[in-house]
Amino acid sequence: MSYPPDPRQAAFAGRRSDGTPVQRPLSPHLQAYDMLQMTSAVSIMCRITGVAWSVGVLLLVWWLAALATGPGAFAQVQWFMSSFIGLLVLFGLTAAAWFHTLAGLRHLAWDAGHGFALPTVMKTGQWVMVATVVFTVLTWVVALVVWR
């Protein structure tokens, strides 16, 4: 292996499990991919929605802690969740959760060895996007019907 011309490439140097040196690229990142492609768009969105959902789970922590604390703390949570900002956050979280779940199902199908043909990949990617919109709206229609 020749000496890397760019010092940043030194970070990519690794070894295979048999000890032979190998230069590995970093994972797909925003600069290297056309983000309007179905394949890379759904892939990075799966990560972004996963991270967003992880942050959104803090609302669950707050809700549970307030429920255990008392009526005052719980009223604060209810005030926030039913405010405009709160509803907007919950709506976005619902969309992120549905997207991550549906894209995750697609990943599980891949893990099981199904759906690798490019036309199938395109089709399931479109399904994920359409189903996210449908399920998110459906969830909130039910929520608003129950709430009123």
Binding site: R15, D18, L67
Partner: protein, 134 residues
Amino acid sequence: MNEMSKTNADVMRTPLGRVRGLGSAKSGTHHWWMQRVTSIALLPLTLWFVVSMLSLAGASFAQTRAFLAWPVNAVLMLALIGLTFHHIAAGLQVVVEDYVRKDMQRIAALLVIKGGCWLMALVCAFAVLRVAFT
């Protein structure tokens, strides 16, 4: 001879030894597999959670506490908490490992993720148990 010179780092290790060592992370596919296991378990649990939250929309403090105090709901919520934070920790770890290049920054981020997930999970579990037992 050429083959030998290529394997300079692990030249004394047999293929079986490498398999038993389970690679550089020493855990084989465990991390990857647990991500899949938790994701499958979270499918029905999250569906239960969403339906529960929908049914609780606009519910009072007492009604919400009664819901969570019911043993089935308390146990399902504890399962949801444990699996959710395991899945979050595993997922965020992969994101950090992929994008944070400097060793110290990466290790620090991984420790914050692991510690944060444990703490948040314990806060949630404690809250559920307190509601269930008081």
